[in-house]
Amino acid sequence: MAVCIAVIAKENYPLYIRSVPTQNELKFHYTVHTSLDVVEEKISAVGKSLGDQRELYLGLLYPTEDYKMFRKLHNSFTDVMCNPFHNPGDPIQSKAFDGIVSGMMVQTG
């Protein structure tokens, strides 16, 4: 079950962050923030071993049953990035993206 979905920019700041129990958002902020350590570690490891090969999917931080989740989210993210009016690096403010995210939360959560 997804309780929190966040999209992080490569400069380490959230482009998008949303969680289902809205009353304790700060907790999720902390969780996501601290988990970035692992992401950073993974990215640096990829850079070292694989060189040019670019595997964008880092794998799961924690095993999840629903592996379509990433694909779905990533597709929607790609759509957002394709929006000519979106300025890469700005926080994501897209209704479609919002919809996908809430769909994932409702569906699973």
Binding site: E40, E41, A45
Partner: protein
């Protein structure tokens, strides 16, 4: 055992534990001084064996932990060094007693002990004792290290003997079962003879021997023993000890692989004696030591095989920890193992696996922990995360530790510690406390968590009792996180900021924390946001101007070329920085800021002023109040430069919410500025103008309002004059030394005749230099003379008598357009309004003045006064025509004069009677004038004639002619009722035809009868029968020669009834020819031809002197050839005589 040692690392397994403790009263600082010296002896090379013994010193060790000494021998206290102060020998027994008491605590495990006595002198100190050393004072104890080394050696001997003892007694004897404290009760009543039990004993003993070997510096032996122990214990499922054996194996391997240690900074190992190559060899000489004890045979087994690979180490750690995990009471052991593994992984740079170990460590339950222990635990977790590069996790746990410091359950919350820990978390949240880092572009980061942290910092610093610090943090929060604060939060933050600043105002000083951290000042560049900074020029009237002629002085860069693109380019760059206007010393100058209030409520900014450099500057701060979400709002900051030079506006200072900020422009994002460097020139005087005429709001069109200091306005009738008195007062602080006055008529469609403004400056100049406060007056004459010709429509209206208007060209387009109006030609009210409309005339009077230091530098100031005149029509000349007078030298000028005003008007001309015109009345006035000799007007010299365009030249000529005519005519008008009078000019009304008529022909014909000039109505008398001499004289005043010409004199009689009798052959006879021939007459010459007539009868005769058609050479205008008609009255002689 409940207290974990978080500082443990794998190589601690090879150390022996020595406790150093004070006995009796020992000053703390002295104790630690000695402790430090003792701790310096951390490794001792054992004589004759080349082995190294590592010592771990503790000044505090729980006896409870000591009980685990059998499980892992490095937990066992094997040495005790007691430090005591003993002033006199009397105290000695008591001290010795205490020392023994101390020994008792660790007696079960202690190998050896020492007592260091300080301060005791005398007999007792003289005696040589191995276990006690006497020193006169804490300063005088040079051989402490030597003593400790001896002590360590003695420990080694015991250790070595124990090792050998345990290692060899494997056969036969019953091996005791080693156990940990909590196991003891489990083994009660167990069958000690079973194979299982024996194996267990063997395994545990092997493991123990392995520990001893490791401590004794025999790494390979230790590995072998551990391996054997693992096998034995695995067989009997003795998991706790299996775990210990595996951990031992790991520790030994780690020591082998990483001789530099895994603890990082804490260990002062000497790398030179612990090379990996040596590590293997080390034991071998040891095996063949002098004491003849042969090493274990297993040493021959390849050490590479025994030693675990780096990957295996982790695997075995994992296994060991999982075994420990089975026992609730071994939590501390498990936790420590985790910590040790993490340290190893950190060295291997396998951060993610390390994090798994740490994750495990987080969940190990150690039962009830005190708050202090919790803090310690979180701190150590944070440190370990930091070690593996997980900065965010590290920050998270540090923050948790900080919060633990002030948990509500703690009676005395440690806000200081909390604050210190919170500060340490800043890098983990990528937060620096320097606002400069946030100036670059938009803020990007984890605003939610960062804000939380900042709030906590504020709160902690407040509780610490340092309001200055809270103000700084709160300012920082407000400045950097403004975009992320909701309106409600903004309100809250600012409210609490105001609360704090009421006690401790915030400033721009750097706050230095006790630990050396510097908190840079936080200028509120976003409260308000400044979008643009523009240095304003002085008001036009105060702007300094450079005297052109003096430019040469500073044209040092002038090149011989008039134009060079390179120089221009350089100048351009220079200009970029420097604004090309000047400020004047001592005069208020302004800088305009466009500011914006991002707050959802009104923002009060106090004490806002400029920060400048380069010139002494007196800033005059302003206070402003910006409405909520104001949008761009202009704010003008003012100041007075007190010295001359180049001034740079660096920024501005504000005071918002009780926090003063110095905001530098260079740090402001998205700021528009056109340059901040301006030259301040030395002071100049200031002039103030006041006039006798009322001021007006009119501004001459091409000028802007600010260009003129003031404008005066006056209403005049066309042709009227008015005096304008201007008072100039020096309101500055410098003397006015020079004054110049110029005027300029602002482009107007109206044609102005005569001089509009005239003045005499000499009188005013004689008062110079004008001291401050003094004033001088100046009179300027205003004279308006516009076109007096009637307008088209007026003419239309009046043109009802069918006489063609000679005043205007027939083909004027206006005329055609207006034709239809002729139908409604009654001089209606509306029509009247149209032609009586008011024209305006505007001019600018320019005062240039200078003085003081600015004049020396070549600057002056300009003060402009606008003059606005509404010109009402006075009279109109609706029509002009000429009638020839009787004399060819004269003619009649007929003027149709119209009075457009609503008052009675009197018009007078020279030698003419006054003409009274009622309102809207038109009357004709005839003025007899002498014809004009326009040739006598000064001609423009050749030079100027060549360069001005012909049309202009023509205009000028006409103007000159008009002037001449005008001055001759001298037409004046008077409004008796209004008591106003003025002149009227026909200049604009005259057209070419009229001018021609008025012009004296260049060919002057003089006809003399009997030697008397005969012209006009002069009647020449003659006697019948007498010859009358007729003389015709041609004077050529034209530029070309004229002629030859033939003239015929035709006499005739006018019967005054329209009949002219030319048949006079009987009455008049010519003596000689009746035809005159005039040869070519050169310019400026004259020719005379003489003939004679004889009148035979009395009567009035006329002589018509005509040109013969062929001779006139028709290229010259006809008017030139008009000769006066001659009237001769022939009379009888007797009659004449009789009369």
């Amino acid at each position: 055992m409940s207290v974990p040692d978080y500082m443990q690392c794998a190589e601690d397994h090879q150390t022996v534990l020595v406790v150093v403790q004070p006995v009796g009263i020992v000053p703390e600082d002295q104790f630690f001084k000695i402790y430090k010296r003792i701790a310096g002896v951390s490794q001792v090379s054992i004589r004759d064996s080349q082995r190294l013994l590592y010592i771990r010193y503790r000044h505090h060790y729980l006896p409870e932990n000591n009980e685990w000494g059998d499980f892992q021998t490095h937990r066992k206290v094997v040495g005790l060094i007691a430090i005591t102060t003993c002033a006199s020998s009397k105290e000695w027994p008591q001290t010795a007693e205490r020392f023994h008491g101390q020994k008792e605590v660790y007696s079960s495990t202690l190998y050896d002990s020492r007592l260091l006595v300080f301060g005791l002198q005398g007999d007792i100190a003289e005696q040589q004792r191995t276990d006690v050393a006497f020193y006169p004072s804490y300063e005088d104890c040079s051989d402490v290290e030597k003593r400790v080394e001896d002590f360590v050696e003695s420990i080694f001997i015991v250790l070595e003997s124990k090792r050998l003892d345990r290692a060899t007694d494997k056969s036969g004897d019953k091996i005791p079962l080693l156990c940990v404290p909590f196991e003891k009760k489990d083994f009660v009543g167990l069958d000690t003879d079973s194979r299982h039990y024996k194996k267990r004993c063997q395994g545990r003993m092997r493991k123990h021997v392995g520990d001893l070997c490791l401590q004794a510096g025999m790494l390979q032996d230790a590995l072998v023993h551990y391996h054997m122990a693992v096998e034995l214990l695995r067989g009997v499922n003795d998991f706790l000890w299996l775990g210990a054996a595996l951990e031992g194996l790991c520790s030994a391997s780690v020591i082998f692989h990483y001789p530099g240690g895994t603890a990082g900074k804490t260990v002062g190992r000497k790398p030179s004696i612990s090379q990996p190559a040596d590590a293997g060899k080390r034991h071998r000489p040891g095996a063949l030591t002098a004491n003849g004890i042969s090493a274990d045979t297993s040493t021959e087994i390849g050490r590479a095989k025994n030693c675990l690979s780096p990957e295996d180490i982790i695997e075995k750690y994992k296994e060991a920890i999982s075994y420990y995990g089975k026992y609730k009471n071994a939590g501390v052991i498990e936790l420590e193992a985790c910590v040790k593994a993490v340290r190893v992984l950190a060295i291997q740079k396998r951060a993610r696996e390390a994090s798994e170990f740490l994750q495990n460590a987080v969940y190990i339950n150690l039962g009830q922990l005190s708050e202090e222990e919790k803090i310690q635990r979180y701190s150590i977790l944070s440190e370990l995360y930091e070690l593996i590069g997980f900065h965010r996790k590290s920050a998270f746990f540090k923050r948790v530790a900080a919060m633990q410091c002030v948990a509500p359950t703690i009676p005395e919350p440690g806000w200081r510690a909390c604050y210190k820990l919170l500060l340490e978390t800043l890098p983990g949240y990528s937060l620096s406390l320097d606002p400069k880092d946030f100036n670059k572009g938009t803020h990007r980061g984890w605003a939610a968590v960062q804000m939380r942290l900042l709030h906590e910092l504020v709160y902690a610093s407040r509780r610490m009792g340092n309001p200055g610090l809270s103000v700084r943090h709160l300012s920082f929060l407000l400045q950097t996180m403004l975009d992320f604060l909701s309106d409600q939060e903004k309100k809250e933050v600012t409210q609490s900021l105001e609360n704090y600043t009421s006690k401790c105002p915030g400033g721009m000083e750097v706050i230095t924390l006790p630990d050396g951290l510097k908190l840079p000042p936080v200028p509120f560049t976003k409260l308000p946001i400044v979008r643009s900074v523009k240095l304003l020029n002085l008001p036009v009237s105060l702007r300094p101007h450079k005297v052109k002629g003096l430019l040469g002085q500073n044209m040092s860069t002038a090149s011989p070329f008039i134009y060079s693109p390179i120089i221009m380019h350089n100048r351009g760059e220079e200009r970029c920085k420097k604004i090309d206007f000047q400020w004047v010393q001592g005069d208020v100058c302004e800088v305009q800021l466009m500011v914006y209030n991002p707050m959802p409520y009104e923002l009060r900014v106090e004490n806002m002023g400029l920060l400048t450099s380069g010139v002494e500057f007196e800033s005059l701060p302003a206070a402003l109040s910006l409405p909520a979400e104001s949008g761009l709002y202009p704010v003008t900051l003012v100041g007075v430069p007190r010295t001359a030079g180049n001034i740079t506006v660096n920024g501005y200072h504000t005071s918002v919410f009780g926090v003063t900020s110095d905001c530098l422009l260079e740090g402001l994002p998205g700021l528009k500025t056109s340059g901040c460097l301006v030259e301040v020139i030395p002071s100049l005087p200031r002039l103030q103008l006041s006039t006798s005429l009322p001021r007006s709001a009119h501004t001459p069109q091409p000028m802007t309002k600010e260009e003129l200091s003031s404008t005066v306005s006056v209403q005049l009738f066309n042709g009227e004059t008015q005096q304008l008195t201007i008072t100039l007062e020096n309101i500055g602080s410098e003397d006015i030394e020079t004054l110049e006055l110029t005027s300029k008529i602002v482009s107007t469609k109206e044609k102005v005749f005569g001089e509009f403004l005239s003045w005499e400056l000499e009188e005013a100049l004689s008062h110079l230099p004008l001291k401050p406060g003094q004033s001088v007056t100046l009179t300027v004459g205003i004279k308006v003379k516009l076109d007096f010709s009637g307008q088209e429509n007026l003419l239309q209206d009046l043109n009802d008598d069918g006489i063609s208007v000679t005043g205007l060209p027939i083909s004027s387009p206006l005329r055609q357009v207006l034709k239809p109006r002729a139908e409604t030609k009654t001089v209606s009210e509306s029509g009247k309004a149209e032609y009586s409309h008011v024209k305006t005339l505007e001019a600018v009077l320019n005062f240039k003045y200078s003085g003081g230091a600015g004049k020396v530098e070549g600057y002056y100031r300009d003060l402009s006064l606008g003059v606005h005149v509404d010109v009402e029509p006075s009279v109109f000349f609706t029509r002009v025509s000429t009638l020839p007078a009787t004399s060819t030298r004269q003619c009649h000028l007929l003027l149709d004069i119209f009075n457009p005003t609503e008052h009675e008007l009197t018009v007078s001309a020279k030698n003419n009677q006054d003409l009274v015109l009622h309102a809207s009345e038109c009357q004709r006035m005839a003025i007899q004038v002498d014809k004009f000799d326009f040739e006598s007007l000064p001609q423009p010299d050749q030079e100027t004639a060549r360069f001005t365009n012909p049309k202009q030249l023509e205009e000028e000529r006409q103007h000159a002619q008009g002037c001449q005519i005008n001055s001759k005519l001298g037409i004046c008008w008077t409004h008796p009722s209004l008591r106003r009078r003025g002149e009227a000019s026909v200049e604009g009304v005259l057209n070419q035809l009229v001018l021609e008529h008025l012009q004296l022909a260049p060919l002057q014909w003089d006809v003399l009868v009997n030697g008397k000039p005969c012209d006009c109505d002069v009647i020449a008398d003659c006697k019948v029968g007498d010859a009358v001499s007729l003389e015709v004289k041609l004077t050529n005043l034209s530029k070309n020669s004229v002629g030859p010409l033939a003239l015929t004199v035709v006499p005739y009689q006018d019967f005054q009834n329209g009949v002219q009798n030319y048949d006079l052959e009987d009455a008049v006879t010519f003596i000689g020819s009746n035809t005159f021939y005039i040869d070519t007459v050169k310019p400026k010459e004259s020719s005379v031809c003489v003939g004679a007539l004889l009148f035979l009868y009395t009567g009035d005769f006329y002589l018509n002197i005509k040109f013969q058609d062929d001779s006139a050479g028709r290229e010259l205008p006809l008017a030139w050839f008009t000769l006066p008609s001659v009237h001769i009255r022939a009379m009888d002689t007797p009659l004449q005589a009789g009369a």
